[in-house]
Symmetry: C2
Subunit: 435 residues, 2 copies
């Protein structure tokens, strides 16, 4: 599924930066928004915590260390690890990763209990991500505690972690099905106690973008600490919700490689990069080693034995493949017409399909050039109609199309018709409309 395996496509060189300077061209200047952190967000990478809850995940120590090093090299701000209270090996792995001396801060994610916190602070982590369910559902069916008990525990645990000189985040769980007033009261309390961050979690993936914006914006007015968001993707909004949270003043986004986590997972690292580079290319390209993305995704995909989805953001085999004739034509004129992301920023390349019934003569013309052949535009149009006729009958590979082009070229050569432009005009081949 790698681009190089895509044999029925013609690889075209990606343009230099010049071709993309107008990529984001929009007739309007963005309206300034003092709340927005889209140009100064931080990443909390949770492949080694949320990702370990993915159905297929079993990370041995060596794999964990390899992943942690790769994420650190990529430039993530924080790496979050499974609770050392989960198992003895989890605790040892946590200690081992803390000893690597990574640039990224190391966090571990624990329940809001003194027992868990005490184990965690001894591992050498830079901080604790503390969590407790606050929704009616979780209070009734999970831990059975009331808000008074939750608040009391939170204060105790936060004070303890701070007394050890570590960073501490306090998050509710299932925040979007929690009572808003209870939630805000709890966040205000922990903010006053001196928590470093509060977290909002869409634990079941039910939140929608404008709902997220509203809650974060409201919370922004209640607390002075940082705000972290953790978004599950059950209903397809994990990237959008993270983005809207940043627009509303959130500061930190939880991600995992390929989004792996409970059920179908959370905001994916690559997907967030795709979204954010469109928003602020300079911030994203300077801060993160984007050309390492595919390598990291491949590493994690192999570790959890899944294939990278065919339609994965940026690294999916077709993310920069153009097929409809009208697309191919414009892309050849200026890549920004149908690409909002420059594949070169991620070390990827674009492909323009020409071996299909939807092809246009501009794409074929490029292929003719790649084969080192010379033809007039009218001749290219004629051979395009031959390719489309075959593609109408059966799927054709690049070899088939190349054969047609070469055979046509040979005939022209024999007849002494090469490189002339005086042929009778050939009607332009129809190009399929696309939006």
């Amino acid at each position: 599924m790698s681009p190089s395996a895509d044999v029925s496509a013609a690889s075209l060189p990606t343009s230099g930066s010049q071709g993309h300077t107008t990529r984001n061209t929009n007739p309007y200047q963005p309206v300034g928004d003092f709340l927005s952190n889209v140009s100064r967000f931080k990443i909390i990478e949770s492949t080694l915590r949320e990702g370990e809850q993915f159905a297929n995940a079993f990370f041995d120590t060596e794999t964990k260390i390899k992943i942690a090093r790769a994420l650190d090299d990529f430039g993530v701000d924080y790496i979050e690890l499974t609770s050392p209270a989960a198992s003895e090996q989890s605790r040892q792995d946590c200690e081992a990763i803390c000893k690597l001396g990574l640039k990224a801060k190391i966090l571990t994610h624990v329940r809001c209990t003194m027992a868990d916190a005490k184990i965690a602070v001894e591992t050498g982590v830079d901080g604790l991500d503390v969590v407790i369910g606050t929704s009616h559902m979780l209070r009734e069916f999970s831990h059975g505690k009331d808000m008074e008990y939750i608040t009391k525990s939170a204060i105790e645990v936060i004070n303890f972690v701070k007394s050890k000189g570590l960073e501490v985040r306090f998050s509710s769980e299932d925040s979007f099905r929690s009572d808003l007033v209870d939630l805000l009261a709890l966040y205000r309390t922990v903010d006053k106690v001196g928590v470093n961050r509060v977290g909002i979690a869409d634990t079941v993936g039910c939140a929608s973008p404008r709902q997220v914006y509203d809650l974060v914006r409201t919370l922004r007015g209640v607390v002075s600490c940082d705000i972290e968001v953790h978004m599950h993707n059950d209903t397809g909004c994990a990237i959008s919700n993270a983005f809207c949270a940043l627009e509303a003043g959130a500061t930190h986004v939880d991600v995992s490689v390929l989004g792996i986590g409970e059920r179908n997972g959370i905001t994916p690292l690559g997907g967030l990069m795709a979204r954010m580079i469109v928003q602020d290319r300079e911030y994203v390209t300077k801060k993160y080693k984007l050309h390492k993305l595919k390598e990291i995704e491949d590493m994690v995909a192999e570790a959890v034995q899944v294939n990278t989805p065919f339609n994965n953001y940026i690294t999916g085999f077709c993310a920069f493949t153009h097929k409809a004739g009208i697309h191919a034509k414009a892309i050849l004129n200026n890549p920004s017409t149908y690409e909002i992301i420059d594949p070169a920023d991620f070390g990827m390349t674009r492909y323009v399909h020409f071996a299909s019934r939807l092809t246009g003569w501009n794409a074929v013309k490029t292929r003719v050039g790649q084969l080192g052949l010379a033809m007039s535009d009218d001749q290219v149009k004629l051979v395009t109609s031959k390719i489309k006729a075959l593609a109408d009958v059966r799927p054709i590979a690049i070899d088939d199309a190349d054969s047609i082009i070469r055979s046509f070229h040979l005939t022209l050569e024999k007849n002494g018709e090469l490189s002339t432009n005086g042929d009778a005009p050939v009607e332009a081949q129809p190009e399929v409309a696309a939006n």
Copy 2:
């Protein structure tokens, strides 16, 4: 990658409707919004148009008919087909599908030219989706026309299609990089001419949810006709953007099966269903045959030779898999704690992993019951610690866990310790925190 192949998970019966009546439980009543069409949206299914532009797609006539029939049976409102001007076979296929007598209305998607429109109206379709690029980028690098020319063509084509008694939609292309004033003027003009729908297309996948909401809301005040949206997924917002468009007054959403289309595609049918069922379960379950979703996705995945992504909405192999002990425990008490969608609505089932180091004793207790064995809670806690100890060393399959349980049970039986509750209290096994 089907759920039935997931051997290291314990299948639990899905609850009846009773377990999920409180699924959406939120302490707040939704605030009414007269703009919103989330409870009365329509689907324009474009697997046979946008989907045909997917890199791997080659649909022969038989496959097209099979897909069209399946989509019709599912209950989509419209089926959109590739332009009959694209190739002779495309034209014939269009005619063949029109003759099937489906309940869904059949549309074809053409460039805004009289030549294309004339071919299209003869195929027997119910309507034409007309499109032209309006952004500065496309005007300069694709078709080279100015707004005056675009407006003139639009009026001519719309009047022609209406004169044939067919439905007509007019869409801009790359709407979010088009001049807003030009765009609104154009839409107002075509609305006055009597177009049935106007379309907004995020052709390059650059739009963000609140931006979409604002544009659709503005447009809602300018035109009286229906509003359709077409959202590409390059930056992960295709589902969110469609949803926010509906909230702002859009009426129709373009989708394709698995989201296949140019590059990494558009809003997926299944993903939209996941989003909308959370919003209005009654509307979605009454209108669409949701239990057919997996069958349709499998059919299309096979036709374009891709695997369903591991993390696909609803039908991905892990969409309803629960792993962390704290999740498993709550899910066993009430599935709505960690599921916003009832898998049974889609004919799917949930899985609770227990063979991992993150397991908890509640999940193991369920497995003990499934094996037909009887143990006290304290005994279950003891065997849980044995399972976690092995899972710490290597990945374990369900067989491994079952062996441990059976062997433990045998020892208890030999020692005459079965079904007693008077053992010395065993400390509860830690459960991993999760959000």
